[in-house]
């Protein structure tokens, strides 16, 4: 993956930049030592690494503002970082950039059950937000697989989803307000605890802008009352097509499951070996979960099972206990880990219209044979968000490049089928140069103009999201 050449002038004034940043934060919050900086050389897209100029870990919004103002004055690029769990290279530094990490912004600022929101500092992890309100019967809905580690700041930057967004939406649907620091240090408040923010939907713009418009230091999040209960049912089918048709029929029938997860044979096997969840030996597996009281669950699952029966499932099993439900989900949630034990893999994130599922899966199978690399499919079937895992051998010369080429072909296929390059991971550096497949130049230009307004000098996370040649003139200016 190509990155722009670092700005030698910026690297040349490193001492001066560090000297200006030092008085702004606590002594241990400015990291300049090379060995310590190395900890920030990559995010979860570990194939690409680069040690940043310096790392700052501010503790307040005012510190963030002061840091950004100095970097703005000095013309130093800034790469914001949540917990560094991006799978797309969203937090990958460049040699001439300062990493601004929000890890020390970890407080709950306000919990209000009457108005159903929580206001937090953005370095809090996703799961800790739910932990803060769970005892009182509430939860924060978006649940990315990395929820134990990932920060709200990163969730907002990437507009993170999760397994349950068919019913509850993604981050942007659960975000009510932010405190945002612009690159020049200006602190702005967008939205609040009321349901619709005033004026243009800047909240919608900021969410998913991959840290390119500003640094979010505080967020007001919608919290929801926890459902009375939830129960999954497992369905095995002897072909992907049939499983895909079953998903479509369930949706059409008027039941809205909270999640519909899909796994194909390679993935089922790996997960079963790993988690011993009792998955059947079949071509395609669906996990469908519904929520409500016991009686409500029975009624909805009854209807879902009726639909499934019409598709001749090879297995149809409703969870009989809390423990079994946990096991069923453990298998699904450990899919990535389980595949990791078998081989190195690259995880894709394209979305397709649910109706083209069978076609896309068949094509991926054919391409897998053409490229000579295995693929396991696991994804959120209800919303068409696919996670094909391409298996490769990192120690075999050329295999990573082959894998990348295969991945690019799959993503192009997703776009051709009417879908998109990324459903919940973000573009980062990983899909940056594929943006031309999905967007015409005028489409990208319109997006880049938004960045021009928020960050006219293109200093915030500049080498991400847009194809390098599209953003070159702006970054050089």
């Amino acid at each position: 993956m190509e990155m722009p050449l670092p700005n030698a002038a910026v690297i040349g004034k490193r001492d001066r930049v560090v000297a200006r940043l030092a008085p702004l934060v606590a002594a241990d919050a400015l990291i300049t030592d090379e060995a310590e900086r190395r900890a920030y050389e990559c995010d979860a897209l570990t194939a690409y690494r680069c040690i940043p100029l310096a790392v700052v870990l501010p503790s307040t919004t005012e510190e963030v503002s002061a840091i950004l103002r100095v970097c703005h004055e000095e013309g130093v690029p800034v790469v914001p970082r949540g917990s560094g769990t991006s799978l797309a290279g969203g937090a990958l530094p460049t040699e001439d950039s300062v990493i601004l990490g929000v890890a020390r912004l970890r407080d709950v600022l306000e919990v209000n059950y009457d108005d159903r929101f929580i206001r937090v500092q953005s370095g809090m992890t996703n799961l800790s937000v739910t932990d803060a309100v769970e005892g009182d019967g509430f939860f924060y809905a978006p649940d990315p697989s990395s929820q134990l580690a990932c920060a709200i700041a990163g969730n907002i930057a990437m507009n993170s989803g999760g397994a349950h967004c068919l019913k509850y939406g993604v981050t942007t649907n659960n975000l009510l307000g932010v405190t945002l620091v612009l690159m020049d240090g200006t602190i702005i408040e967008i939205g609040g605890a009321h349901l619709d923010a005033a004026g243009y939907d800047l909240l919608g713009l900021v969410c998913g802008s991959e840290g390119q418009l500003g640094v979010v230091t505080e967020a007001t999040l919608r919290i929801l009352p926890k459902p009375e209960g939830a129960r999954p049912v497992l369905m095995g089918f002897d072909s992907n097509e049939v499983a895909g048709a079953c998903v479509s029929d369930i949706i059409k029938a008027g039941v809205l499951p909270v999640a519909i997860e899909f796994m194909d044979r390679p993935c089922i096997r790996a997960c079963e070996d790993f988690a011993k969840a009792g998955y059947p030996d079949c071509e395609a597996l669906l996990i469908v979960e519904v929520e409500g009281s016991e009686a409500e669950i029975d009624e909805q699952l009854g209807l879902i099972k009726q639909i499934a029966h019409r598709h001749n499932p090879v297995e149809l099993r409703e969870s009989q206990s809390e423990a079994e439900s946990k096991k069923i989900w453990l298998g699904r949630k450990s899919a990535f880990g389980a595949m990791g034990q078998i081989a190195d893999y690259m995880c894709l994130d394209g979305t397709i219209p649910v109706s083209s599922l069978p076609f896309v899966l068949r094509r991926i199978g054919e391409m897998s044979r053409e490229f000579g690399l295995g693929v396991a499919n696991v994804f959120h079937a209800g919303d068409g968000n696919m996670h094909p895992l391409i298996l490769y051998d990192a120690n075999k010369p050329g295999d990573l490049e082959l894998c990348e080429a295969f991945g690019a072909e799959i993503l192009k296929l997703c776009v051709e089928a009417g879908g998109c390059l990324t459903g919940e991971h973000g573009v980062g550096i990983e899909k940056r140069d594929l943006m031309n497949v999905q967007f015409a130049p005028a489409d990208l230009e319109a997006q880049m103009k938004v960045k021009d307004v928020f960050d006219p000098n293109w200093l915030l996370n500049p080498a991400k999201v847009f194809p390098l040649e599209s953003s070159a003139a702006r970054r050089a200016a």
Binding site: Y113, D114, D115, R116, G161, G169, V170, T172, N173, I188, G192, A193, H194, A198, G199, Y200, D201, L202, G204, L205, G208, P225, K226, P227, S248, I251, K252, G254, L256, G292, E296, E299, I352, P353, V354, S355, H380, D383, G384, G418, C420, T422, G423, E424, G426, V427, K431, M435, Q438, F439, A442, D443, L444, A446, Q447, K449, V450, D452, V453, V465
Partner: protein, 366 residues
């Protein structure tokens, strides 16, 4: 001007010698008065894609909303955000259009649970003020590819671009619904009850207080589910509740959605967005007839003509929009709440980028 295709529209906007007033169905005459030649979008019509199994619909912006709703009804699906029909309130003729609904981010009572129009909107095509055709988002419900201009277009009232096509995420229509109705309650008591109801797991998706003080709570689902939830909700709440069944329930919420209580009555109509627990204080300060929706988070106020309600309310956490008033009042009082300086600068910056010549509904939002 009435373009018949996106390309025509692009040419017309690019070559427009002066200001344009963008008009969809002409049923949402909100905002500061705009002078300019009328550009109608009702030549761009038709549902371009409807996949019930994928809960997705794509329609050209000039398509009458009624046509979309009829197609959805065939498959027992709907736009979950329950868009308000403003005709009664504004005394407008015409047929609401898809593009107008999106430009206004029109969202009704179900917003508390199902989100606003912008939350169901998954893709747009539009022509910007320089005549450039732009697409963003698409037809899939999970999409983080690039910046979300889809949200930006929702609620931008035609000031950043002229919508030509919109894609929506749909939801199934539940089997039935029911509404619990209280007796007349003071605002404090009403808001507390609505907050309590919205904090239960029974998926209350409408919580409103009518002008007469009666609180209404709506539940939807399968018949048995609705029966269960009604009983469970009544058990969880204080006071006595009447229940009305599906047909009456639907009529009640249509009246809430369209604020028909203020239709044809003298006075200006304001729409105030607040955190629910601040609502009773706001209502007291407004000192005029009100209807509350969104559990108290949305207040509709009928103020004496020409009143600057913002001055009466003073500083508060939220914003007030002047929805209905005479031409003179609308010329004197800004329709949208003035924003803090840095936010206003960003809004101005976006307008300068998307509409560099200032031809799209200039001044409508400020």
């Amino acid at each position: 001007m009435r373009p018949m295709s996106e390309d025509d529209l692009s040419d017309l906007v690019r070559d427009a010698p002066g200001a344009l007033r963008i008009r969809g169905g002409g049923t949402r005459g909100v905002g500061n008065p705009v002078r300019g030649e009328v550009l109608e979008t009702d030549g761009l019509t038709g549902i371009t894609l409807y996949e019930p199994g994928a809960l997705t619909l794509v329609a050209k912006a000039g398509t009458p909303l009624a046509e979309v709703e009829a197609a959805l009804a065939q498959e027992n699906q709907r736009l979950a955000f329950e868009p308000m029909d403003m005709r009664a309130l504004l005394g407008a003729e015409g047929a609401p259009s898809v593009g107008g609904m999106v430009a206004a981010n029109a969202s009704g009572p179900r917003r508390v649970q199902a989100g606003a129009c912008r939350d169901s909107l998954i893709g747009v095509r539009f022509v910007d003020g320089a005549g450039r055709i732009v697409k963003n988002g698409g037809r899939v419900m999970k999409n983080v590819t690039g910046y979300d201009l889809v949200k930006l277009m929702a609620g931008s009232w035609g000031t950043l671009g002229v919508l030509t096509e919109c894609s929506f995420k749909l939801l199934p229509v539940p089997e039935t619904e029911a509404t619990l109705l209280s007796g007349p309650l003071e605002p404090e008591v009403a808001v507390a009850l609505m907050s309590q109801a919205l904090g239960t797991p029974f998926e209350v998706n409408g919580a409103a207080r009518s002008e007469d003080g009666r609180v209404a709570l709506r539940i939807e689902g399968f018949a048995k589910q609705v029966a269960y939830r009604r009983t469970a909700l009544i058990a969880a709440l204080e006071g006595t509740w009447d229940t009305v069944d599906a047909e009456e329930s639907r009529a009640h919420w249509q009246a809430v959605r369209d604020v028909t209580g203020f239709a044809g009555r003298e006075g200006d109509v304001w729409r105030i967005s607040v955190r629910p627990s601040d609502a009773p204080g706001i209502v007291a300060r407004a000192g005029c007839p009100v209807q509350m929706d969104w559990g108290g988070g949305l207040i509709w106020a009928l103020a004496p003509e020409g009143t600057d309600l913002r001055a009466r309310l003073g500083a508060f956490r939220g914003h007030a929009t002047l929805i209905r008033a005479s031409e003179a009042t609308r010329a004197a009082i800004s329709a949208f709440q003035p924003e803090a300086a840095p936010l206003a600068a960003i809004a101005q910056g976006l307008r300068a980028k998307f509409d560099p010549r200032g031809v799209l509904n200039p001044g409508l939002m400020g």
